[in-house]
Symmetry: D2
Subunit: 353 residues, 4 copies
């Protein structure tokens, strides 16, 4: 690599968990996979191994489609669950609704995203009760077809198992399918201390966007389908959307290493712990208001303007004044250390005075 | 990686250049990129470097969009060049027409692929003359909008510069845009001894699918656009299609290393040389008919059935009886050695008797 | 026609102006057009005549595409104004957003409908100021591309010329295009006493869905484009969407007769006058709350439950309890007489006591 | 209607059966339907009556969706039978493949039209045997999903019942669905002397585009579905595509009158008889080669250039030199009389000398 590459020190990088690189184990696995010849398009032992590991972790056979982005995972999943004249119900804050430039509309052939509000970026179950039946059977309206739950949410909250079950039950009672956007699946799992099965199919999830990229992988997420009837459709849709990688081994090796020896859970635990440490620290600094106690690895807070400016001047990178004036988002990653967090807290304290 | 991964020895792997792994330099670059924090979504120094290198190589500023597959590169490129009521003219053998499960139709919103025949998997310029004007302005018909040229072709032939210029001129005279599917761009370049600029924009190409995966990269190809007016559209389409990777550095690092110190050309030269060696060898074996002298790294030949069966029994993998009975396709890669080829030739000789 | 056809008397029909049949002049024109042979697909003198009349009425050359429904007019118009990654800004009450089963999403290839609220079903210009620039240039978000204004609105209000100009100016300043859903164009025109040109292109409208069906035609609305650059695209999109009628003369003859001797304006005047008469009458009846003074031919009011039930029992048809409990919508048509209205008012009075 | 409307005399109009106006009975039915108030969107007695008549004629309950064009009927039908990654197999001459500006691609969300050749514009059953299984299950290829049969064909031939059954059986054995493009359904029925049931569902047809416009109606064709499982999907797709007319009665009244007292069959018989008369006459004129004996109401022949020019000079309108030089297409309609045909034959004779 060219000598001109300059990276941000991890102590300064809080814009997203996407700023982090990859876990060394995953980098090694990818490098190891570079040698040798295997069949292309997922007919390789790496993809087999990843599928096996996911089936073990989810305690049942699952269909697995490694893809290169979470947007592709979400779009393809929703396309398999929703007809073009359907609507997808999600929280207005959801990534699919807000941050994918209409990817779900593209993949589904023009379905409609309908926001269902609720506190903490979670769909309110009573609002969902109304939404799933809204104009059902009325030919003049898109038809409620799928519910998408972000776990963890875009604001850093985590649904309890009971909350997921409740939302799924409301959906299922009305004949809708349920998708989980698990871009930060492991972070949520760590917070709940639940099993992957409990947080998904046992709670009514049909298809999961299983995130790995934000938590230590490079360019690999996976669609995990708990409904065998969707397998063929997902395969054709993925190919047609340019998501069937010729050298699939390089996506699969990332997933495989990610799931080996609990790396994925360790990474998530670290990221979550750093968010908690950061939140705890901020609580002790006058003038900084935490919007909510972080449950995963995202933290929203209110910082005085001179603090924000001071941090930026020191080279910190993070989103500010994007949601509303004075609001700052700080995202921790597996790659942050306690020192990184403590330095940030020191900086906040310094600029507060 | 699990101990159960078994790979095919390169001496036996001829199904596709997709069977090869990655060049060590590329594997190293990806591993190196794993450390450190950079901005996501392509706002990183790796992507800058890849763009700079491509601009140098093409001798002008280009827009670059790294994507995870050639199908995505082709689909997005064609979507930017063709309205939904347009048609894309390509050879019936072309990958976009034959092997992408309708990806161009998906990305373009339903444009039509129209085959224009010609020998050696190359569009016949006279047939193109007729096709580009067919029912132009007739509202009952899709409108010829873009021509897509595979360089090298799916049968292993390479268009001369003059042939590309001629096809482009026919297209441009009738107001059509020109796309090049360069899944095997480097192989074609090596065969011609031309410059990248000569083979593309100087010959009338508007947008190029720049292949890297088949020639030593892992999961990275790139859209290279020579028309600055298409940049914004391509960016939005790529995001919306799930092709804007969060950790884009890992795609970009592959492209960057691929272009460093001529690796891409060395790899292509080796693959081509191995195809030539294989072709030359086969010519000396009675009963094996070469369909054409390979110009890139794909070779079609006719093998007696007992030879095919003998090779399969020894663990060779390759496509046979897929195009028509008795026809065998052998694809060489950068990873093949002269020994690999000679072993294969020996095996063919052995089974011929 | 079979003897079994039973129609609702006009004195009872208030569910929609779509319940009305057709003006006798239009029925006669269609019957007259049935004789004789003309070229198909709009190359006929009826379509020429309709185009000429529309150009006269709008005081400039316009492109005209007769279509069979308002949803088709809206969908095709928006598809010509918005890329698939664009968003269409309209009031949440708008027909395109609420009542077309995702037709705009279908026709545009998956653009997003974004609601911009405001009182009286009109977009608030200040809210629009924010919306047209929201995340412009941000590749993670759909891009504000078109504003759609309903004139008259779905709740029966009418934008003033100044309001249209203001909304258009906000859109144009930010580079967006402007569409008018004129399903009840003539009703709005009658209310304002403006010219068609003033209410459209002089106020910044690029493309108009020119409604005729609700105001006396049978199955014909028209796209009227004020931007010559959109003509070819609209023609191809209309054909491809099954909206280029072979015997176009039968759509065109409706439009032509509709515009002859001011029939369209007389019909609208009658419908509007009947709504005013109805509103004035309701104001005199205690317990019936008019939500707003009707400006076109739609009236929303609050009726006591026993009144609603009493009317239904007498065979009145109208929407009730659809928007919220107790709310009734009454729509008048060109076919209503003062007697029809007075009978309805009598019935309301009777059931009130 | 304006005094400036000039129509072509029926004795000169042979460009298409779309040049004809409407049967007087249909014009009367539409005019009659103009009076009175009925519920919109197909909830009216006219639509009920049309549905009842179609169910009687087809000897079973059918789902009926009146639409405004045959392209809409075809596109919506195919969208209900084919996934976006599917292919539709039809003859290369088929209207869906050749003359709808990509409407099937638009309605299906990007499925692929694959031509299966055969003589007389009919799919060759043996070619179909191969095509229905081509790359089935191969994720790299679109999947054969539906077969579309034109009855009568675009060249004027008519499939026998046995031919339809054979093609359907080939399709069904491979799991494909079967669509019939019946733009000239009545003409084919008249030629065969078969029942509507025999020619459709008893022969394996799942969904029919039931044409009426070309045979005496104005702007109404209908989707007739023999598979109750498709009803809801067709309803939502039709609405979303702008094909659910508010005043549906005016489409339905056309269908209803068309089917009353055998009008549809009388019209077809007349059109067919005129084609036969024309063909018989041409056979007696030296130098005019009939390409095939017409079975429906389309006739292709070879005319000497001076004959073609002579006819054009007299004001005859018809397609010539469009398929290949010297080839002329003449289409007869219900509105042609024996005199019209005899005049044309006289003119051909005159110009031949």
């Amino acid at each position: 690599m060219s000598a001109t590459i300059v990276t941000t020190p991890s102590s300064r990088a809080f814009i997203s968990d996407n700023m982090a690189g990859a876990s060394p184990q995953i980098a090694q696995a990818v490098a190891d996979a570079a040698a040798g010849q295997v069949l292309p398009y997922g007919n390789d032992p790496y993809t087999d191994s990843a599928r096996r590991r996911l089936s073990e972790i989810f305690e049942r056979d699952v269909d697995v489609f490694p893809v290169s982005t979470g947007s592709a995972a979400n779009g393809l999943s929703l396309a398999a669950l929703t007809p073009p004249w359907g609507s997808v119900l999600s929280h207005p804050d959801s990534h699919i609704n807000h941050d994918e430039c209409g990817a779900p509309e593209f993949f589904t052939g023009g379905a409609k995203l309908v926001g269902v509000p609720g506190p903490d970026s979670k769909i309110d179950p009573e609002a969902l009760e109304a939404a799933v039946r809204r104009r059902a059977g009325d030919v003049h309206s898109v038809q409620p077809s799928a519910v998408s739950i972000s776990q963890a949410t875009e604001s850093g909250s985590v649904h309890t198992l009971e909350e997921i079950r409740r939302l799924s039950a409301v959906a299922k009672d009305a004949g809708l399918r349920v998708h989980m956007d698990g871009a930060r699946f492991a972070n949520a799992l760590d917070h709940l201390g639940a099993t992957p099965a409990e947080m998904t199919w046992k709670a009514g999830i049909d298809v999961l966007s299983f995130g790995a990229t934000k938590n230590g992988a490079m360019t690999a997420d996976a669609i995990v389908s708990f409904d065998p009837a969707l397998g063929a459709e997902l395969a054709f849709r993925a190919k047609r959307a340019g998501q069937l990688a010729a050298k699939m081994r390089f996506h699969a090796a990332q997933i495989d290493a990610y799931l080996t020896d609990g790396l994925w859970l360790r990474n998530a635990r670290q990221a979550n712990a750093m968010a908690t440490r950061l939140g705890d620290g901020l609580k002790t600094i006058p003038g900084t208001g935490l919007l909510a106690t972080p449950q995963a690895n995202i933290l929203f807070c209110r910082l005085p303007q001179q603090v924000t400016e001071g941090l930026l001047a020191e080279g910190y990178v993070f989103y500010h004044d994007r949601w509303e004036p004075g609001i700052v988002r700080l995202v921790t990653a597996f790659s942050h250390s306690a020192d990184d967090i403590d330095q940030l807290l020191d900086a906040v304290r310094r600029h507060t005075h």
